[in-house]
Amino acid sequence: MMLNQFLLLAAVLFCIGVYGVLTRRNGVLVLMSVELILNAVNINLVAFGAFRDNVQGDVFAIFVIAVAAAEVGVGLAMVLLMYRNRKSTDFTELDMLKG
């Protein structure tokens, strides 16, 4: 099999994820899109691992999965907090620059 077919698949997945991050207003959906991006990365890692014929790619993929779990946990907690404060999870209403 071609290496590129995996890499390009990951690239498409990554771009879809980016699209989701940029266009979704709902906080939970943004986090889901982030998962897509992470998955794309994982596919890359594993594909390169197979290509280089070692396990480092796999190891990193596992780490990524673990970190993603942590990220989702914290991220969802923040979305919940936001929801509690604002009764909305709309990211477009976030105004981070408020002095």
Binding site: V21, L22, R25, T92, L94, D95, M96, L97
Partner: protein, 769 residues
């Protein structure tokens, strides 16, 4: 080199032959430094002084005046007794001069405090070993100023004839104006600041005339402009005053484009030097192409036109009368406005060869000068404000100087500058004295018959006016006559003139006629007839009248300093005594000055010019002192002109009976055609052009640039460029939803930007590597 030596590293690199140069001539930098220090002193401590700082200013300028006198005397001694390293070939360019190294008493008797012998080390003569090298008597002292492009540039003083005489003029008038001002502006809210700026101006002007390089000249040139700005706008609470100040500064800035460009051309053409002497020598020796010299001369002429009020850029000068009258006397009559003339004189080779003055019959400089002479003079007829009459007169007289330089009559120009400074300053101060008394400058409304109230002012004003009109034997006669001779027009004095400037001679004669006429009008309206103002005028105090008297003495007698050869004593072949003393001491006879020729004075021309100069006043006298005065006596009112000239006279003309009564209508011819035409349509048209065309162009240019600025800002800056930025989605769109829209989704937009940016970068990186 350490930090400490960085600023003060000033050890002269080259050591020239030393000589018996007076200590003072090597230290003339003291003269401008004194008023500069007094400026700082007045600025910081003036308000705490008992006289509000005026005493410090007067003391500093007084000391500078004394030093200037001493340096003049020392210069005369130096000029006559100097025997420099290359004295041998001194005769080359001076054989046209007529007089050479005379052993005359003026210089020989001078000893400067016993110091003239001890000086050494710092003096450096302009050494000239070139072909036919003359005695290079100019005294040059320089220190390192800054370093650029690996070359050290210097700052210093160049003392020679023109600068030494300017020292005298500037300090004299400045001192008199200082004294005069203590009375004139007494009680003014900004009394202290006024004197501070007078000091700064004096310092800058003195620094200007002593500049040894053109960069220094630019610096001082702008500084005098700054003082002019500050003093014109002295009463800045009223908008017209600050408008006038702005107009003066901006008009001069327009000319400064020419100054900068011209100086830059000279800098590079002369091989990367700012030095006046180097540049002049390079031009004289033909090291610079004719094209470059011509362009430099044209550019610099633009600067002269603005600074010295030459026609088309002169309009700021009358407006500048918004400043206090002593300021007008010092800055806008005697000194600042001649800065342009002085620059031509200083860089004379550039103009001499750039405009091809020798041997031609017309050139740009002379043409501008001659037009200014006539147009300025005509405009003076229609003014009601006495200071504006004098201002237009100044424009006209500056035209004479530029004309003289344009035809190659260098000495005549500087001599006229010298005499004009005194009588014009006297006139301004006189007008100020009158205005001080009647609290107005309006001749028609608030003056008239002042001779009864202010006899001293009247007398001095008369003397100065006569000098201005060029009546024999006052100062103006001699200097104006020399200019007219210098033109070499119509075959008069052509044998030694630089060219054949027929048009210039005619214009000069017309100008002389106009000068007398408008001054006659001015004197009648101010001093004769009945008083038309309010209150009881009285003579001004001593601090005002004494300067007036001093100036009128100069106005009457200064012409004797440069009597033509063959006059009074001696003959043309062996001039001694007072003859051409001025030219002898002032005109540089050095390698950096072109070998101009000196036209031979002509008795015929003197007579013709005098007659011409009297025709104008005669007509004006007849009109005012006879016609108007008589009518005033009949009606019992104090009239300022005939109430209904043209119409009334036409009715009279309708009756043939009146033919004789009216003396063959010569009266009418004079009255209604010549005088009225000159007084009315012609000068009014000139004034109209002045106000509506030239002024309008300046105003429109200003308005247009503001409009253009607005348009550019509105459409291009806020529209196009912003639009491009915003439209590309990088920044929030301004699609009209206002603040809410602006704040919407900043997080994600930021993320979008981040990704887009990273993508573009990655793309570039991929393409590049």
């Amino acid at each position: 080199m350490s930090l400490l030596t960085l600023a003060v590293e000033a050890v002269p690199k080259e050591s020239f032959a030393t000589g018996d140069v007076s200590w003072l001539l090597n230290n003339v930098w003291l003269i401008p430094t004194l008023p500069a220090l007094s400026f700082l002193g007045i600025l910081f401590f003036g308000k705490r002084m008992p006289k509000g700082g005026a005493e410090l200013g007067i003391a500093a300028v007084g000391a500078a005046f004394l030093l200037a006198i001493l340096s003049n005397v020392a210069w005369m001694d130096h000029r006559d007794n100097y025997s420099g390293p290359t004295d041998a070939g001194a005769a080359h360019a001076e054989d046209d001069h007529g007089d050479e190294h005379s052993e005359d008493a003026l210089g020989a008797s001078v000893v400067i405090d016993g110091q003239s012998e001890q000086v050494e080390l710092t003096s450096s003569f302009v050494e000239e070993g070139g072909e036919g090298g003359h005695a290079a008597v100019a005294v040059l002292n320089e220190r390192d100023w800054f370093r650029n492009g690996g070359v050290d540039f210097k700052v210093g003083t160049l003392l020679d004839g023109p600068s030494v005489i300017m020292l005298f003029v500037v300090t004299t008038i400045s001192l008199l104006v200082h004294i005069y001002s203590t009375d004139y502006v007494a009680g003014d809210r900004r009394y202290t600041h006024y004197f501070a700026f007078l000091s700064l101006f004096t310092a800058s002007m003195l620094g200007y005339v002593l500049s040894s390089n053109i960069l220094q000249m630019i610096v001082a040139w702008e500084l005098v402009g700054l003082c002019s700005f500050a003093l014109i706008g002295h009463w800045w609470e009223e908008k017209p005053n600050s408008d006038a100040a702005l107009k003066a500064f901006l008009t001069n800035r327009v000319g400064d484009i020419g100054l900068l460009v011209g100086m830059i051309i000279l800098f590079f053409s002369a091989g990367g030097t700012f030095d006046v002497i180097e540049i002049n020598k390079a031009v004289i020796n033909g090291e610079i192409s004719q094209t470059a010299v011509t362009w430099a001369a044209i550019s610099l002429t633009a600067a002269v036109m603005s600074k010295s009020g030459q026609f088309v850029l002169h309009t700021w000068l009358p407006d500048a009368m918004a400043g206090p009258t002593p300021v007008s006397a010092l800055i806008h009559a005697a000194t600042l406005v001649v800065a342009g003339v002085f620059m031509i004189a200083r860089l004379y080779p550039v103009f001499y060869y750039g405009f091809s003055i020798p041997g031609s019959s017309i050139n740009g400089l002379a043409l501008i000068g001659s037009i200014t002479v006539v147009f300025g003079g005509l405009l003076a007829f229609v003014q009601t404000d006495i200071k504006r009459v004098l201002a237009y007169s100044t424009v006209s007289q500056l035209g004479y100087m530029v004309l003289a330089l344009g035809v190659g009559a260098w000495t005549a120009a500087i001599f006229h500058l010298f005499t004009h400074a005194f009588f014009k300053a006297g006139l301004f101060l006189g007008s100020g004295s009158v205005a001080h008394s009647v609290h107005s400058f309006d001749m028609k409304q608030d003056m008239g018959g002042m001779r009864k109230f202010m006899p001293t002012t009247f007398k001095t004003f008369m003397i100065c006016s006569i000098a201005l009109a060029g009546v024999f034997p006052t100062a103006g006669f001699w200097s104006k006559d020399e200019i007219l001779v210098g033109t070499g027009g119509l075959g008069v004095g052509a044998e030694k003139a630089n060219g054949n400037y027929h048009l210039m001679l005619i214009m000069g004669l017309v100008g002389a006629m106009l000068t007398g006429a408008y001054m006659t009008r001015c004197i009648y309206l101010t001093f004769f007839g009945e008083f038309r103002g309010h209150g009881t005028p009285h003579e001004s105090g001593k601090r005002i009248t004494v300067p007036l008297i001093i100036l009128s003495v100069f106005a009457a007698g200064a012409g004797l300093l440069n009597l033509p050869p063959g006059f009074l004593a001696g003959s043309a072949s062996s001039p001694t005594g007072w003859q051409e003393r001025f030219g002898h001491f002032v005109e540089p006879s050095a390698a950096y000055f072109p070998a101009i020729s000196h036209s031979v004075p002509s008795w015929w021309l003197a007579v013709v010019a005098s007659v011409m100069g009297l025709i104008g006043p005669a007509i004006a006298y007849w009109y005012y002192f006879i016609k108007v005065d008589n009518l005033s006596k009949e009606t019992g009112e104090s009239l300022t002109e005939l109430p209904n000239g043209l119409v009334a006279n036409n009715k009279l003309a309708a009756t043939g009976h009146a033919f004789l009564v009216n003396k063959y209508y010569l009266d009418h011819l004079y009255n209604d055609v010549i005088v009225a035409a000159v007084k009315g349509p012609i000068s009014k048209a000139a004034y109209w052009i002045n106000q509506n065309v030239l002024d309008e162009v300046v105003d429109t240019a200003g308005r247009t640039s503001v409009k253009a600025g607005e348009a550019v800002y509105k459409h291009i800056d806020q529209g196009l460029i912003e639009g491009a930025v915003n439209g590309s989605g990088i920044l929030s769109s301004q699609s009209g939803q206002g603040l809410r829209k602006l704040q919407t989704g900043k997080v994600q937009q930021y993320a979008a930007l981040l990704f887009a940016g990273a993508t573009i970068l990655a793309g570039i990186f991929i393409v590049l590597v």
